[in-house]
Amino acid sequence: MSNFDKLKSIIIKQPLKLDCGKEISNFPLAYETYGNLNEKKDNAILVFHALTGDQFASGQNPVTNKEGWWNYAVGPGKAFDTEKFFVICANVIGGCMGSYGPGTIDPTTNKTIGTNFPVITINDMVNAQYNLLDHFKIERLFAVAGGSMGGMQVLQFVSNFPNKAKVALPIACTASHSAQNIAFNELGRQAIMSDTNWKDGLYDGKTSNPDKGLAVARMAAHITYLSKKGLQEKFGRNLQERSDLKFGFDADFQIESYLRYQGSVFVDRFDANSYLYITRAMDYFDLTKQYGGNLSKAFKESKTKFFIISFTSDWLYPTSENKDIVIALNAIGADVGFVEIKTDKGHDSFLLDVPDFLSTIKNYLSTTYLNINERRI
């Protein structure tokens, strides 16, 4: 991992009591912002990233030199229009882009914290990021938004802080991680932990990393982000730079080569222990259980306008699970909109150029911002 010194961050001084019982304090939370906070401070949108994202939602990530993970959605004139809105995005705790995580150096040992890092939850992530409101002196956010694990953070944020966001956009997510979700995450974790370089999580992060395990974890996960139809259309049974099968275990098929490539580039930018911690946080996420089996209670106090979006070909966080959130909100008469966007791009749709999805968000946000201002809600 590169030097994070130049990245923006706040140091959270006051103690944060974690769900696991431990307490952390004086820890860094790295963030990035896009656009400008207006004078009334009523145009801020807090965007939450997914499993392998970071604070660089848009533009170029200065560490990886790659495009921001939500470049299609965040920027001037885009869905989250940074000419109108002030977009804040933080790296979750447990992450590996400058926020407090297992890759952070412990000054007492001069080594990475590794698996001595406490197990964190979505609730912990959200509570840490709440400090950004104080930092920017924002009384109320215009919106909170995110897809996948970002969507889970949206739900948790609104339930923890009922009136701190006027609009909530949970996208392609769930209120309760399913057995299938947990199973896929466990597969990834086992791949990492089976790599002899993992060393019980105490690898040094420089000379030896569990790259092979992390790459396999990424490959497996990547399949779950795409749809069968999407894969078939993009790759089919096409062969990789060869005219016939080679009767061996090289990447004969394009899809094999593609997955191997995805795995190999991932290990350059992501820390294996972070992958363990963040997938664990997702698995532990069960907002329904947090509210005694009644999801509606999570939003009982909220005056937030909800807009929930799912995708037809997303089988990882299917429409049915997104709809459970809609049902819970309707049960308490909350202000809720919901649409399932038609696309073959699978769970990854929320990160991709899906015009229907992006234009609906853009229009929804700009109209709602105007409506709220006119009615002074």
Binding site: G333, V336, G337, F338, V339, E340, T360, Y364, T368
Partner: protein
Amino acid sequence: MKEEFKVISKLIDERSRVLDVGCGDGILMEYLSKNMVVDVRGLEISKEKVKKCLSNGLAVVEGNAEYDLKQFPDLSFDYVILSQTLQAFMSPENVIKDLLRVGKKVIVTIPNFGHWKIRVDLLFKGEMPITKNLPYEWYNTPNLHMCTIQDFYNFCNNKGINIFKTISLNGQKTSKITASNLKYKNLISELGIFLLEK
């Protein structure tokens, strides 16, 4: 805005909570929320129309009234509106039951199959009628359960549903329908607008 929507909006009190079932492009919703102080939600089956509504900032949920009305609690709305959609459901009876469960009052409008033009078409042409309100061929119509104003009136009476008001709409003309003029209004009305209560 359609005359029908003007009639509907006059039936609604200010400051009430309204659910528009089959809200389409959200034209009525928009009118209600801009011109009257009402809190309005929508349910719509067409993705395209839902996207349009959401783009206009309306609180619309994609769904099918036949299954998705269940998620709304009893009497959670002051008014539930169902405009010209009843005939398209598999089970209009169950939908009406659900509407009356969710809403304190229910406004149902039906395209009247008893209108004289329709009767004449069928009588003289011997073909399924095609009109402005019912523009489909028999083989592609989404309308599974057509009824007349008289039919719906009888249905309500048989099921013990209270009819508060019945309004006839013929072109731009509105008039009251009563028990005594029912037979006549059933002949000349293009639309029937019913205000119901359990």
